[in-house]
Symmetry: C2
Subunit: 512 residues, 2 copies
Amino acid sequence: MDTLEQTVTNNSIIPNNVNQVNNVGIDPRDIGTPDNWVPRHPELVRLTGKHPFNAEAPLSLLMDQGFITPNSLHYVRNHGPVPKLQWETHRLTVNGLPYKEFPVTLCCAGNRRKEQNMIKQTKGFNWGAAATSCAIWKGVPLSHILKLAGVVDHKTDKPRYVCFAGCDKLPNGYYGTSLPLEWAMNDANDVILAYGMNGERLPPDHGYPLRVIIPGCIGGRMVKWLESISVSDKESDSYYHYFDNRVLPPEYDAERANKEKAWYNPDYIINKLNINSAITSPAHNERIPLSSFVSTKEYTIKGYAYTGGGQKVTRVEVSLDGGNTWLLAKLTQPELEHPAVLKRGINPIPRFWCWSFWSLSVPLYSFIRCEEISVRAWDSTHNTQPRSPTWNIMGMMNNCHFRVKVNTANQGKEFFLEFTHPTQPGNNPGGWMVKSEPPKAVKAPEPSISARTFTLKQVEKHNTEKDCLEAILINAGKDVTEEFNAIHSSKARSRLSNFYIGDLSDKSQPKL
Amino acid sequence: MDTLEQTVTNNSIIPNNVNQVNNVGIDPRDIGTPDNWVPRHPELVRLTGKHPFNAEAPLSLLMDQGFITPNSLHYVRNHGPVPKLQWETHRLTVNGLPYKEFPVTLCCAGNRRKEQNMIKQTKGFNWGAAATSCAIWKGVPLSHILKLAGVVDHKTDKPRYVCFAGCDKLPNGYYGTSLPLEWAMNDANDVILAYGMNGERLPPDHGYPLRVIIPGCIGGRMVKWLESISVSDKESDSYYHYFDNRVLPPEYDAERANKEKAWYNPDYIINKLNINSAITSPAHNERIPLSSFVSTKEYTIKGYAYTGGGQKVTRVEVSLDGGNTWLLAKLTQPELEHPAVLKRGINPIPRFWCWSFWSLSVPLYSFIRCEEISVRAWDSTHNTQPRSPTWNIMGMMNNCHFRVKVNTANQGKEFFLEFTHPTQPGNNPGGWMVKSEPPKAVKAPEPSISARTFTLKQVEKHNTEKDCLEAILINAGKDVTEEFNAIHSSKARSRLSNFYIGDLSDKSQPKL
């Protein structure tokens, strides 16, 4: 039993250092946006300009935190502004209900999407490999709430669903989605309505005061700022249930998908995570001076791996020869030893809800003639990752081998081996993957017709609802080059010239 | 409710033509073996010599049967002789119990193993791509029997298991294995004790009078000739539970596995099937005369796909350019329309227990410059098949892209395109995969010392238990070249010279 008050007191299963990473305050970038009241960590990499807030931690900083990610560094996926709710007045009361508290690794289905965007721009923004984090979530079992409401999971002729609706207001209505009822009603699946995260009340960016946590599934099903739950023989009617979190076959572009209504094909929905892994050491741009090479010296390659549906990551392998041969890495599953997991006891069939860490120590000289370090993981269904990415219009579920290139470089007389990751998150430059389809510059190709030059002062006057659609009002009157590039396809870019009226004279440099 | 008598009468959900494929009688190859009473289809490809009986249908013949495989063509995996039991006197009575009857595709975990054996000999024999078949199984829900026995699936501190033991007697004791209790107790998983197959009593090769059927899992867990069931906090103690049906990392040979007790590592057990697919049309050695090429003509590439754990095969793709681009195939799931499935109604979360068929019609001219046709499938966890096989000591769970080579050939003046599969089952020759490690011939390298020549007549006298170990008694006094080659590793072959005493003068040609 638990009360909301208790959730704010720290207890033994939450490590003391969690949530005490840095002073987290209001970020200057949030001033002038509806999120100007949400404290945020300054080092989070923003992937969609300043608003809405979608961010991942720098990969190395994420790994430095270990198994449990502090709230302020947990990846954030918001579709719009954070609803400004009051813990005190929000209606749902959780006093006296049973609760579960245990670690869960959340993963955005778009984790590692930038690798797909380098092949061809998808409809999604540039997640790097850190759209995954692990926290200790605390909440009421959903099955308990449903049973209180009289829901019985008896066999019916038709499948039934639990539909979740958030109270966020977005361009296409509320954010919502649904889950098969049977999955929600099976206690072993640990679906909870969470109000606590790492021993604190749920922070605004993570869906306060109440969100859904569905271990083993993609983050996109775990509705934040939860407003209503209903059980139905129909799936959620939210726009985002159909037009987000789907994997379409690679031959579908948006046009064909719309024409053939492929978004409604039940085969293309994503629920459970697939097997995935990434290399975190060596980090991007990490260097090893050749002068430090001694035959006895070792280097420890490290990374994470995760899978879905409660399956276990059973094996991680590293290749130093382009995938011809594979070396068995050491695999650690901190979940198995975590006090929160030990406290609740073991399931008859254990479920695995958290990431695993892996490491492999190799002699430093292994890198001298190595062109690439790659990693692949296997899970208890004996599935593994494919070698190459399969592009899809939403850029979802990318789980190909994570490949880090090894190059030589010099600085003056000193030679190094230098490691390069496939991409860097957001619009950050770097990475060995090169965009095969370079984005067209955000200006008209021909400065013809009635082209003029505007000063920023002139632009700043156009910042009211009369000047633009409501959805982009917060950016009105500003230089939005970065925001525009972060989320628009090359097709959208090519249509810009129709609206071209002139150039900005005192344009600030893109903040790369 | 059902009685055994009813199981032998055909009913509407069993297609009439099933089980009426050919006259199935005693195969001459079974004479002189303990199986000399078991009727068998003459066209089954025997993979381990004449005994024990392990066989798959020719891939094209299997596909010709459609969704449901007739009993006589269903793949068979036997570890030893078929126990000679009596329906009339066998103790377990199933009269009056509830039953389920529905189609399930069984797959041996060794399906497609020969592709691994071409890389390096594993400890397993040469399954082709037809170690999978689909039948309508009928039986009592295991959960019902367990509940009758007082088993309750409450949460315990330790995982619990259902252990199955068969009544077959094998060199290392009884064949047995176990399953987590929770999986068995969840009715939605459809675990049954089966006594009917395609409307007939369970045939001897398929485990009569009673076997376990565990949909979505590997065939190796579905104990045949079932003698006992027990619930325990320990896994099965059968030798075969640990030393069979495991996937070890590729760097493990048998010696290292034994030394490090890797067989007991719970991460390496196989239960659920992984995602897999194969091309069945074009068949191996199929030819298309170039003279038949007309620009309007199409060819339909076809095959099967399956996955495990009740997941659905959601997408199958074919590549004609070595995996650079992929074409979406048409996917049919006859399970969804099958009368047996319609009769029982839909689960709240549908489970998929059967193979899917896929097809893709391409213009015939697509093959002119095509070197290879490859296929890969995806399932609802969004996992797919890896491009290349990963060798493991047991040769299990091979699920790489199935690749058919396209070559040109001529016969007189006529030119053809000719298709070549990776391998042919058993010791049958053919296939583009070439053994990288050719088997050493079964004779001593140097005909030195006291080498003699024996006639077959002389050998035939040595056919009693005094002449050999019991396990090979049925082959004593015979030319066993084929039997030996089918199941021995190159290491075993290399040790043969220690036992070399001479050559056989009137040695029959290997029956290839």
